[in-house]
Symmetry: C2
Subunit: 315 residues, 2 copies
């Protein structure tokens, strides 16, 4: 039987000695010239050709980062824009990343009322039960939107329990306007995202969710630049692993993310996307490697890992 997701993720973090996660948000316009200029068939206006190029790029990125980090986060939005074939590509990359020993987080941000969430859970959290698609696997975990409350989340927890998967519920997001709703003060002196954090803490304790190290397969997506918020969220959700987005291109630094970790270095993983996967646009790496784009990505990923190491010691 497969291990609990939280245990699996923590073990991968320990093995790679870093909580660094690479976020794969690929857009055609930023593909390296080697791919966008030198392929036989390449046309941004043709969905199949564009998707082929995007997938080729993604496979290279996966191979470059797999030895360096424990996990990858793949955002479904960037594949959905290529319609049904994009979805096929998304699942191919999930499998490719898993085959390269990466823990795979599907950044799908789904959420609906219960009977609809059951269908989303079948697609995104459970492995395929279709006889004609025996190999289609869901990611190890997905991101979820918790606005619907418990009955929208429960079908995902049931699927997660069955296949030893995990979820990360959006609690405090990294975007500039996140606070418009998420930071609104409540009558009992909390903030809206803390109320949701309290619900996550309850879901984290559901049967079958907590692993051998005391962490739950119900994690949370949290981002904030002040240590007080981080500390409060850590207190509200002691058993949840935090997925912290926003490092790098979105402006979060190692110092910003440090307070999301417990004193033993556990409790969070940090995702960097554009600052790593588009490192070949950065003059710092360009000067070192010129058009060798994969070396730029590799170096940026190592820099990301080293930067986190300054503030968080693993194992």
């Amino acid at each position: 039987m497969t291990d609990n997701f939280a245990d699996r993720l923590l073990r991968a973090v320990a093995e790679k000695k870093t909580p660094a996660v690479v976020a794969l948000d690929p857009v055609y316009a930023r593909l390296p010239a080697e791919i966008s200029e030198h392929r036989d068939l390449n046309d941004e206006a043709d969905s199949e050709a564009a998707l082929d190029a995007v997938l080729e790029y993604c496979r290279h990125v996966i191979h470059v980062i797999a030895p360096l980090v424990p996990a990858i986060k793949i955002n479904s939005a960037f594949f959905e824009r290529y319609y049904s074939e994009g979805i096929e590509g998304y699942y191919e990359l999930v499998q490719e990343a898993a085959g390269n020993d990466l823990v795979v987080i599907g950044d799908v941000k789904r959420g609906d009322v219960g009977h609809s969430s059951e269908c989303y859970a079948a697609a995104h959290t459970a492995d395929s039960e279709f006889t004609n698609l025996p190999d289609v696997m869901a990611p190890d975990a997905i991101t979820l939107n918790g606005y619907f409350g418990s009955d929208g989340i429960r079908p995902f927890l049931e699927a997660a329990r069955k296949d030893a998967k995990g979820v990360f519920v959006l609690v405090r997001t990294s975007n500039e306007s996140a606070g418009e709703l998420q930071d609104v003060a409540t009558a009992d002196g909390r903030k809206v995202h803390e109320v949701l954090g309290g619900l996550v803490a309850q879901w984290a304790q559901e049967p079958g969710m907590v692993g051998s190290r005391g962490y739950s397969s119900v994690g949370a997506v949290v981002s904030a630049r002040d240590a007080d918020t981080a500390k409060r969220l850590r207190e509200i959700m002691p058993q949840s692993i935090f997925l912290v987005p926003g490092y790098g291109a979105q402006g979060m630094t190692a110092e910003h993310v440090a307070p999301f970790f417990k004193s033993d270095g556990s409790g969070a993983i940090v995702a960097a996307g554009r600052s790593v996967i588009y490192a070949y646009e950065d003059t710092k790496y360009l000067e070192m490697y010129a058009s060798e784009w994969k070396k730029c990505v590799e170096h940026a990923c190592k820099d990301f890992v080293a930067d986190l190491k300054r503030v968080v010691k693993i194992g």
Copy 2:
């Protein structure tokens, strides 16, 4: 040039003389026996066979309800569970419904940070710009999750403006646990969903959104069983058309939805799903039509329209 979405929807409501909308949430296990037992290839365990059966059923439902109601809401969750081919089927049904003169609402509940929302908007709000997919059209409007605030919504508004589409932002949902987060009291005496309603009211006034009748292409999904909540939401979002789910199987009655309308009968559309599309499971209709399932659906749809007519007069 295509009309503003709100104008288009209001015109369709006036033409059909009802604000009734059918919600298409098809699950294989509930397909009528005529489809699930009598097709050559039919196997719930095979995704292609199961999807074929589901799509055949959906096309029949569309043809039955198209003369009776102005709009259809198609929930992507029920197609995503069939992976890439399910997505292809979803877009086929969007086109089939539009070809039958229905306003089509894609119930996708997407939402993300800005640069990811751009991709979701390309997939779900904008019509295809790919040269190899010239005919793929997005629905007339989609549902959105507003937890990210303005910058998560804006890419959808831009796509909506360009192609005269609309959005319905989830404000107060119809599920039992909706209140866990959405009804939490805020420090300034509101509820969380009212704060989001206030943001929707701002988005509704963005350039290019308001149509000739004063309604905006930025609508809201709202559901509540008490008239006070409905009245307050109507005041907070005067320019938004409300999409009210929960009628029928989820327990909302015509009396519950009446307060969401303005005194002239405008301002809301009401969605019924399972009580209409699975009417052939209801002894009331079974006794009338036995195995003629399409007649059951047609009769239930007419009953739905008639029931709303008791409380809302159109035109």
